[in-house]
Symmetry: C2
Subunit: 223 residues, 2 copies
DNA sequence: TGTACATCAGTGAACGCGCGTTCACTGATGTAC
DNA sequence: TGTACATCAGTGAACGCGCGTTCACTGATGTAC
């Protein structure tokens, strides 16, 4: 049993001032450790990342990582809570809260994803990759914490719009959510590949957004 | 230097009949090893799969795996050549060889992906996941062996159709290829997740295909 | 202020474990005669 | 046909290594007086 782990100590907020050195582990260290872990997860995948690799990335001893987080699984959980959750909260807040027309809702989603990607370039690849892993820790996180908040909610709004005749009746409202993610997160996650494959250095975020909106708006036809 | 590895022996085809037991390693064993490796790659990811895990999956000693393939990297290459390449060849053959209208080409692609997924249910998740990994072995494979054959070729055909006014001018022909993959492979790869998220047991392969074609044909509008 | 002491963030070395790989060996199965 | 022998697919045990974790320890920094 480790007794004086920083995370544990800090959570007991009302501790009386004791004699001796007050705990004040350097405030820049913990975020730096989280960033190093995130970088490793993004580069190599969560399952293939060792604690020692993260320690090397942060130029720190493995014992320090264990001291701060208590182990690999807890470190992953900390990265999820303090890096992933805030990033995804940004998306939920970007969606219009009240009933809007489908085009506006979809445009808000596409723009929201674009902004998330601009602010957190690491997110799409990590997300798409880890959520597709059968045993992935992020998969559970998606199903429990994100799924009910964004995809299910979107699907309900699409279904309602379709009942009112404001959406292509041949679409499935639930699959439309999947299509939206496939048209936004997946291209963002695979950007390095198609850029290299097509030599497409001229395609920036705005071009990608314009293309996606045009496809969703009218499909392949020439309108 | 291992001398009598089966792969090596079999490749020297013109060896004279020597006295002694002729080499005849059981013909069912090698495919079984490849299948076990593939199953582990799909379940846990390539980077997180150990040779010993594959050996356990195949109920075989690690030494046997090494004897057959010479190491983890060669085993992965064998799985790529003998499992991945044939599966993807199926897609290229499904695409119409001659100039066709955009709708027909896209429909052939969507149907082709659908058939591949039906025949090789493991492919989408493995594909999407490993291709998005920065250091992934499959990423190189995509860029070298698949990219020039399918995506680049499709993009060229789309660009030509667009010049002739047969494609929505606001689309980017290259990004349209990315969109197509995002609308087909990604939903297939994430099917277990959205099925569980939406309780969508009623959506089968045909429904997914119909939805995708409808979205590509007319977009969100009610036509 | 100066001195003694308590605290605790962080360390270095060691642990047991599973990994990929090696290699001397086995024993079933073929050929030679 | 029967016997001796050559072959080689596959094995079992061991190797060095990097892993996650542990724990006695250090030493800078605070408090007590």
């Amino acid at each position: 049993m480790v007794k004086n782990r920083p995370t544990a100590r800090k959570s007991s907020a009302a501790s009386p001032r004791l004699p001796g050195r007050p705990g004040a582990d350097s405030p820049e260290l913990r975020p730096r450790l989280l960033d190093a872990a995130l970088a490793c997860y993004v580069r190599d995948g969560v399952a293939a990342t060792s604690l020692r690799a993260i320690a090397r990335e942060a130029d720190v001893t493995p014992a320090l990582l264990h001291y701060y987080f208590g182990g690999g699984e807890q470190l992953l959980q900390a990265v999820v809570e303090e890096r992933l959750v805030p990033a995804i909260d940004g998306l939920r807040e970007a969606l219009p809260p009240e009933a809007t027309d489908v085009a506006g809702l979809v445009a808000a989603f596409v723009h929201g994803i674009g902004e998330i990607v601009a602010r957190h370039p690491w997110l799409p690849a990590l997300w798409v990759r880890e959520v597709l892993c059968e045993g992935g820790a992020l998969r559970d996180f998606l199903l429990r914490r994100v799924g009910p908040q964004i995809p299910v909610l979107l699907a309900q709004r699409f279904a309602q719009a379709q009942r009112q005749g404001a959406l292509n009746p041949d679409l499935d409202p639930r699959l439309l959510v999947v299509s939206l993610i496939g048209l936004t997160l997946f291209p963002a996650a695979s950007a390095p590949i198609w850029r290299s494959l097509f030599g497409a250095d001229d395609i920036d975020a705005a071009a990608l957004r314009g293309h996606t909106i045009a496809l969703l708006d009218r499909g392949l036809g020439i309108g």
